[in-house]
Symmetry: C2
DNA sequence: GCAGGGTCCTGACATTTGTCACCCAGGAGG
DNA sequence: CCTCCTGGGTGACAAATGTCAGGACCCTGC
């Protein structure tokens, strides 16, 4: 095989990591990094300009996050393969990434040598998913939270008071307390703070 | 210049990032990565076995963290230069890293091409510190929290209740509430959750 | 049409949290 | 010696939080 090079686009907000990944992948004779961007918003333009075969996208980015970016990219250029690369193995991330059209999902503590292989597999049309994470994902299941509940939890992430959350979301304090109470129950927590931690860790926010 | 190669040791818990950094640095003709480890505990043994000139150490690692590791390494092999590489630009990290004997401090969103230079400078005996971060560090100042206060905040990180914290630290609930209240005041927060966020962000925990 | 779910609101209530005034060591300095 | 100051601890009080029972509205699916 190994006809033309596989063209890659890298999206990661940490310049050092991005550059290092580029160095790593450019070592492979059949891979070539044709574009690097730091935020999700820049991905579409870069893809249109450089028509990569595979895009490596970090989930955690300022502005448009990796999931939204994937969705937008898949809509605009469906032939582009998307490989999500992320620090945190949140089960919810995996599910949402796949729903958004991602072709692969790799966490940042997989061995470096496997990354090039993952890229080649994705390029060949295969799905690449971290095995442990897939198992966790099945166990964790889908988010039990309603849209409002997760919204309220999100608004409380920075430690905002009930009154502050209510103001931010244009709700009454009583309603906010109800949603919080419900979320606390569903997450099996004793606390608003703990509920936020649990939901965040599972990627439900 | 460019006599012998500069020998490097990499310590980072994310295998992918570690491998990628190795690839990046090995591209430089005067640098050579002689050892890679995933945790702080392994740094000492690896340093003794491979006697690197410069150690690149991530602050966030399971087990012994980057600060402690730096201190231990500097005590065991003072001639080894230490360059701290970290995701988060917490002012407190910088201060503590320097106190522990680090020779340089680089955040992961500096451009990739500057990393090799930072390594060379540190090897030459210079200090390398991110300018923005140094400024922040001066502004943020030293931690205003007493030992007990930060301990109580640390114990409350996971959203534990006052009673739980008190149990964990063998204190009365009233005392815990006082420490919390004091910490809330010192951090200018309205909340325990917010106080924890502020203290954590500044590296005071 | 009707049941069921989700959202939003209200009001009442027990518990938890945050604040405050006060007390007790133990150094530092007069 | 005594006083001042700081970190640490206690108890009482007010405010915020979490729980519960209701009731109204709007969808969606049977």
């Amino acid at each position: 095989m190994s006809g033309p090079l596989i063209r890659l686009l890298l999206a990661d907000d940490q310049a050092l990591v991005r550059g290092a990944l580029a160095a790593l992948l450019d070592l492979e004779p059949d891979l070539s990094v044709v574009a690097e961007v730091a935020t999700g918003d820049q991905v579409l333009a870069a893809a249109q300009a450089h028509h990569p075969d595979v895009a490596l996208i970090d989930v955690e980015m300022p502005g448009m996050d990796g999931i939204e970016t994937t969705r937008a990219l898949k809509q605009d250029r469906p032939e582009t393969r998307v490989l999500i690369v992320t620090t945190f193995g949140r089960p919810g991330y995996l599910r949402r990434a796949l729903q958004a059209g991602a072709d692969g999902f790799v966490v940042k503590d997989t061995p470096a040598r496997q990354l090039a292989d993952a890229v080649r597999r994705v390029h060949a049309g295969l799905r690449v998913v971290d095995a442990d994470l897939a198992a966790d994902s099945l166990v964790a299941g889908d988010s039990p939270l309603t849209a409002r509940e997760s919204e309220v939890l999100r608004a409380g992430r920075d430690g905002a008071s009930v009154a502050a959350i209510a103001g931010r979301l244009y709700l009454s304090e009583g309603t906010v307390r109800n949603h919080l109470s419900s979320a606390i129950g569903k997450t099996g927590s004793a606390n608003r703070a703990e509920a936020i931690r649990v939901a965040d860790r599972n990627g439900w926010l």
